[in-house]
Symmetry: none
Subunit: 235 residues, 4 copies
DNA sequence: CATGAATGAGTGTTCATTCAT
DNA sequence: CATGAATGAACACTCATTCAT
């Protein structure tokens, strides 16, 4: 491509451009780790810088303050899979039960098993100290996410696969266990003996079963219950 | 006044004893509020003292450090209704579905609707900074609580009311939504517009329904579904 | 001891009251010295505290910020001799020449020879960085001071002792050399070899002569020229 | 154009030579502005560089440190009109009163109305932090300047136009109001409402009158008083 | 027992200075 | 020669903790 010729790899502009992205990226990653691990206040900016391999001064070259760094961390990890997921929902043509299974599976792959799983803990811990961020998170994450799940449930109801329900609260039943799982992983599980460990595969399988058929004896799952299989237990 | 006679004003020992209990009580209450609201690090001991109506120096008369104050706050609010609950389970003789309903209802009354609902947020936020507290919480709350729920589920399975399941993960399905609810109330819900508000009654009803029958169309609840009714929507 | 009896050691309130005044007083004195000596920016709050015999933290107990400390320093030294001076002018009944002599003499005694002489340097150096303070100074010091001198000049004109003149600029002729003297003392004179030293008595005598009779040969002073004699060259 | 021919574009040496002079010139000008405006400490080298249209790094190519930059600024603007003035004095053959008038007029034209008028403020503000500069200023400016004025006064005395006086302090009477004027312009006048403005022409006229004849009624100026007229009230 | 003045280690932030490109 | 990213020493300010009264 002729255009590429202009910005030859040795082209200083390109290199600088990459820098501009690279350095903050490492800082944001380090900051996410530490904020999740210790909370906002207990995290020292110098530690963030050190972990990112730069000096304290450099951090302030990219983020005007600790608060802005925090906001950037949250925003960074929200860019979102919503567009992709929305697409997938649109084009899915299996049963709604399968859809729900895919939903949990995809959440684990793209959120639960990644660093992004630390964000909910961050938000829950700090939302009251950063109300502006709380609003941002509600608008950018909670609402779109709820909407996606609501579409799945609505589809199931429409197709006669799910029974009628209050969609808003039905959505919570899908999301609450997921969010609880990610918070657990970054709090009690991360600080204690490994006996506390939740195995995501079992956990999500159980959730799927429960969501579909509940615990009552009569409502046992048919043999063709969607089977959830996670690719990797991560990290 | 006969009651006053017991704690006779000239009885210095008695007075001091009461004091020792009374003052820390106010301090612990103030501290719980603030720790839940702002997190451990962002809470100033002076603010705690002021809110409790005493001076900063007095606080250190009762708690040797901020850290000990924090630990006391958590310990204090964990005293636990486990003995009572255990008793209730022992003597319950209705269906296991009803038992589950009573369980949610009781949790709301004694935990969810009280200040104790702030503890889970505190633990999730600070467990990694206070691993000792995390262990304590697991031992004193998570395990006994899980055991109680496990007994309910086991009873249902034994009596043929619930289908067989992995008890450990079944318990999570009961507890995760409850813990999520309390965290939500003290984070995003507490910092933003009231549209985010979760109505506990609806939320818990939905959870009960889901737990028992799931979402699938075939497994609709029978007419005698246990109906959950909360006494008061709190505070 | 009779002296101790007055400030009875057991009177906690009285002692505390004195404290409240005493501590800031020492801090303000130390701050004035240092601000005059090194300028606002180059002065370290810790140095101010140390010179006042307290810790850095204590300084912030009395002044919420370095900026407020600076403002307080300027305000403190402005309370002013204006009331007294105004009175003196009112009741003076000698010649206006004598009045002018007394004016210079009094300025030296109460301002020039005291720490207050550092304030003009401070204001000249920092007014552009603290416009609000500049306005305050103009209003509280420059204007009242100019008004006083203007009254003296006007009286002389009215009584036929001084020739008619533009009062506003006449006032500058009285004040400019005084302000220059105080700035000189706190800048070049304070940093260099003693040969630069201006002797206030000679300086002010010369100024008085010039103000009254100028340099021209014809206008020599009569034998009864008011003679200026400073009490002490201070410090 | 013949002049251009000298600095032929292909002559690298010439170009570099010009650069060496040109770039620092802009930097010194920018630095003078900012140092006068905000003081030494509050002036950021980056701001100086930006205002001069170069990068921060470039500034350090020409000046090894902020301190050296400051010293250069002061030195640069002290080059002095002393040779010219000395010449003028030598060749002047009017009255000493006229000489004094020309002196004030020339000071205004070459110092007061130019950026050099900021130097006295700088020296007064920073002399104690840069004693070396203070000494330099005394040697290069104060002493030659005083000597010039002293020559004028001495001439007047010798010719019987001025009355005998202590020359050293007589000189201060000439210089103090001038230095005060330039400090005023760069401090209180520069930060506040325009009502504070001193009109140089009136101010200097008044000073001249006072210097020659004083304020006393008997010593009114003869009709042939030298009349001071400034060419431009600057900027 | 209660106070609140005093402390000083610790933190976020700035900015002169360096140096690889 | 010019740049601007990177540095780290230095500073203003905070706050848990102490202790004399």
């Amino acid at each position: 491509m002729p255009f590429d010729a202009f910005t030859h790899p040795t082209d200083a502009n390109a290199r600088r451009a990459r820098r501009k992205d690279a350095r903050p990226g490492e800082l944001l990653a380090a900051a996410l780790d530490l904020f999740v691990e210790k909370g906002y206040a207990a995290t020292r900016v110098e530690e963030v810088a050190t972990r990112a391999g730069v000096s304290k001064g450099t951090l302030f070259l990219y983020f005007p303050s600790k608060e802005e760094l925090f906001k950037s961390v949250v925003r960074e990890h929200i860019s979102g899979h919503f567009a992709t997921w929305s697409e997938e929902i649109e084009q899915f043509d299996g049963s709604s039960q399968d859809m729900l299974r895919d939903c949990l599976q995809s959440w684990w792959e793209h959120i639960g098993a990644t660093k992004a799983s630390g964000i909910p803990k961050l938000m829950m811990s700090e939302a009251r100290n950063f109300p502006e961020l709380g609003a941002f998170y509600r608008q950018e994450v909670v609402q779109p996410g709820s909407a996606l799940v609501a579409r799945i449930l609505q589809r199931g109801i429409t197709r006669g696969e799910f029974r009628p329900m209050d969609l808003e609260y039905g959505v919570y039943m899908v999301l609450a266990p997921l969010l609880f799982l990610s918070m657990w992983m970054h709090s009690l599980e991360a600080c204690g003996d490994p006996t506390t460990r939740i195995e995501p595969e079992k956990y999500l399988s159980t959730q799927l079963d429960m969501l579909l058929y509940g615990f009552s004896a009569g409502s046992t799952a048919p043999d063709d219950t969607p089977h959830l299989k996670l690719e990797q237990s991560t990290q």
